[in-house]
């Protein structure tokens, strides 16, 4: 029988759970745990400079590897600083466990120093939260936390650990549970066979079908099955911002992504389709535009692990609750076995129509002889990294440009805060990726607004040698805010101008990194090449781009999917 303190049990449980890295920041209520961490070397701890960054780092790690991320912070401000990160992970269904110190159970409710009701504060933004009520429970609570975080529709789980649960001199028997079973939590393991059959029949009978795939395909590790099914059918596919990489962007059946800043052809194809097969997406308002005008002629098959995502905003004709990989696999088998084949003539004329839409816009943008266009920067990066980099982004125009012009052929490589839209996400997320992918190129595409929200992490990068490349598309304004002000507020740029920007080059150097400024168009490609050649250095690339550029296409507010601005002057 092995006797361990609560703190040792916690660390031991993490080891037994197979956790490699935790990201965190120590403090009073977590000190017993930090001491236990010190006395072992299996679980590695990364010390960030702000707790929010620890969560984004764990998040970036989770998105790139598909494994749950782990965060450790102290009570009170340590815990509340994680909230934005947790909400970010919650909105994008990212598996994560956040371990929070808490004041001793005897002090809870007394407004003790650094006491916050973290269970209450986090409740609306977690998949679940748990508090430890006896040290002996710790292994089971930890196992439960990871089980809930990583099964079904994944999400963040908070574990609140009062300090007296980790007291060093109180030891208990350590038993790590082999299996966790919860009577009230049983995620679906397969879809309903009858519904799947119905869906396949509808797919094969469709004249203007489209596949609409989302982040669920990446989270469900179902890119292989999706690609197989789509190629087998020969139908067009579009995906959401979160689904980028779930199907190769360079494939001719891929129409790009859809929604507010999606491609013209994908929005047009959605609007005119007669059948939408939605796989692991959730008809978010940034996709559908006005729901009452959404795809009037389409019947909808919706596959999702979360029943609450089905018919939430758009009613599904055929709902299928189940893991996307298992459901797609069954669909592939049924398509193979079916005597019915897709209507070749109808599909050919559907493609003819789509190709016309494709040729009509083709993601064109105006270039200028001397000003660097943000789109050009992304295209250059995509070329120079052969489309194989891991790209994280912050939130705003740069995020849309990165998603539009970097072509991802693989899943897990486009990492952004799609649901919550968290500025400050990009750099720490990139660090989480780089830590576990040291040989891969990791780019953080950001703007001068977003990067300043977690700029302090340049220090962490120095400590742990994380040579990410920060691509700062500097337009000296909060670009997306400014774009909306241009379009909806007669260009009254209320608080969207970034005055007094720091000298990013000196700033990067102050943190021990390299800073490179690019402000001449003719230097763009050569300087980017030099930057990418500095394999073992973090390089902050401050690129002065067109200050007046807008992101297009852009759906017209309250319109249907086909109502778009294609440039500052063209509206369809």
């Amino acid at each position: 029988m092995e006797l361990l303190s609560g703190a040792d049990m916690l660390i031991r449980s993490l080891q037994d759970e197979g956790i490699e890295y935790i990201y965190g920041y120590p403090g009073g209520a977590a000190l017993h745990i930090y001491d236990a961490l010190f006395r072992q070397d299996k679980v590695k701890h990364i010390l960030v400079r702000h707790e929010q960054a620890a969560v984004h780092m764990a998040d970036g790690y989770a998105r790139a590897t598909g494994k749950p991320g782990t965060v450790l912070v102290t009570s009170g401000p340590g815990a509340t600083n994680t909230i934005t990160g947790i909400a970010t992970a919650f909105m994008d269904s990212i598996p994560m466990v956040v371990l929070c110190g808490q004041v001793a159970s005897t002090l809870i409710g007394e407004d003790a120093f650094q006491e916050t009701d973290m269970i209450g504060v986090s409740r609306p933004v977690v998949k679940h939260n748990l508090s430890v009520r006896h040290p002996e429970e710790i292994p089971e609570v930890i196992r439960k936390a990871y089980y809930i975080a990583s099964t079904g529709r994944p999400g963040p789980v908070v574990v609140d650990i009062p300090k007296d649960m980790t007291t060093p001199n109180e030891r208990y028997e350590y038993v790590f549970p082999k299996k966790i079973k919860l009577r009230s939590y049983n995620p679906a393991i397969r879809g309903h066979a009858g519904q799947i059959k119905k869906a396949v029949d509808m797919l094969l009978a469709a004249k203007r079908p489209i596949i609409y795939a989302g982040g669920g395909v990446i989270l469900g590790k179902a890119s292989g099955q999706l690609t197989e099914l789509v190629r087998m059918l020969g139908y067009p596919i579009t995906n959401t911002l979160m689904g980028i990489g779930c199907y190769p962007a360079s494939d001719k059946q891929h129409l790009g992504w859809l929604g507010m800043h999606g491609t013209y052809e994908s929005n047009m194809a959605m609007h005119h389709s007669d059948l939408i097969l939605c796989v692991g997406a959730r008809f978010d308002d940034r996709v559908t535009n006005a729901t009452e005008k959404f795809c009037p002629g389409a019947r909808i098959v919706h596959i999702d692990i979360d029943p609450a995502s089905i018919s939430k905003t758009i009613d599904a004709d055929v709902p299928i609750v189940g893991p996307v990989d298992a459901v797609l696999k069954e669909m592939i088998t049924l398509v193979k076995e079916s005597k019915e084949k897709p209507d070749a003539d109808a599909i050919a004329s559907w493609w003819k129509q789509i190709d016309e839409w494709r040729a009509f816009h083709g993601m064109r943008y105006e270039t200028s002889p001397d000003v660097i266009k943000p789109q050009e920067v992304i295209e250059a990066l995509c070329r120079l990294t052969k489309g194989e980099a891991f790209v994280t982004s912050d939130v705003g125009q740069h995020q849309m440009f990165a998603a539009q012009y970097y072509k991802f052929d693989k899943p897990n490589r486009w990492i952004n805060s799609g649901g919550l839209g968290t500025m400050g996400f990009g750099l720490p997320a990139a660090m989480g990726v780089k830590l576990t992918h040291p040989d891969d190129e990791v780019l953080c595409i950001t703007g001068e607004g977003s990067i300043q929200m977690n700029i302090q992490e340049l220090s962490t990068c120095n400590q742990y040698n994380l040579p990410v490349k920060i691509i700062n598309l500097n337009n000296q304004a909060l670009g997306m805010v400014k774009q909306w002000q241009d379009m909806n507020y007669e260009s009254r740029h209320s608080q969207s101008y970034m005055e007094s920007l720091p000298d990013f080059i000196k700033l990067a150097e102050a943190y021990g990194h390299v800073g490179v400024r690019i402000d001449r168009k003719e230097d763009l490609e050569t300087k980017l090449k030099e930057v990418l050649a500095m394999k073992d250095r973090l390089v902050f690339v401050d690129i002065y781009v067109d200050r007046f550029e807008h992101v297009y296409p852009m759906q017209v507010a309250r319109g249907s999917m086909k109502d778009m601005w294609l440039s500052k002057t063209e509206r369809v």
């Binding site: 609306p124 009230s184 939590y185």
Partner: protein
């Protein structure tokens, strides 16, 4: 439309706050809420009455089911069911009012459970409409205090909500 949703919930600290939080977080209505442990002490039974379109009610039941601590739930209004609410009401009762109130209580099959020289305390059980009807019948001017438990409900016939 008014619905009565009955939920079996893990009897854990914080479980109730998740249910209540869900309603406010997603902008759903709660009209009444009752909760108490069941014969199985690991489970609580919670009854919530709410209003909303069919789409909203579908979301409410799905979102409730998503809560890790919700074991099972049923929308009682989907089938025939019995609903009861208990009300305690203090009424001004002096002079000729005393006999009149006593008669009204009898008609509504209530009971006078406490008496002073000027006040009757009445206990009344029934569906919510009946309790409203009683208040109307005695007239609001004589009502000093009203306490209602909120609705509890159970399905008619063989159907049971259990593990």
């Amino acid at each position: 439309m008014r619905r009565i949703i009955s939920v079996l919930l893990e009897n854990e600290p914080g479980a109730l706050s998740r249910v209540v939080g869900l309603f406010s977080q997603r902008n759903y209505n709660i009209e009444t809420l009752t909760v108490a442990p069941t014969e199985d002490e690991t489970l609580s039974r919670l009854t919530v009455t709410t209003t909303g379109s069919d789409k909203v009610i579908e979301q409410i039941t799905k979102q409730l089911n998503k809560l890790i601590e919700v074991v099972k739930l049923v929308d009682l209004t989907e089938g025939s069911h019995i609903e009861r609410e208990l009300m305690l009401v203090k009424l001004k009762a002096t002079g000729s009012q005393r006999a009149e109130i006593k008669r009204t209580v009898d008609i509504f099959r209530g009971q006078i459970v406490d008496v002073t020289s000027s006040v009757y305390t009445v206990q009344l059980a029934g569906d919510s409409d009946k309790l409203d009807g009683f208040i109307q019948a005695v007239g609001t001017s004589g009502v000093l205090e009203v306490v209602r438990t909120g609705v509890s409900g159970i399905a008619r016939g063989e159907k049971v909500l259990s593990l």
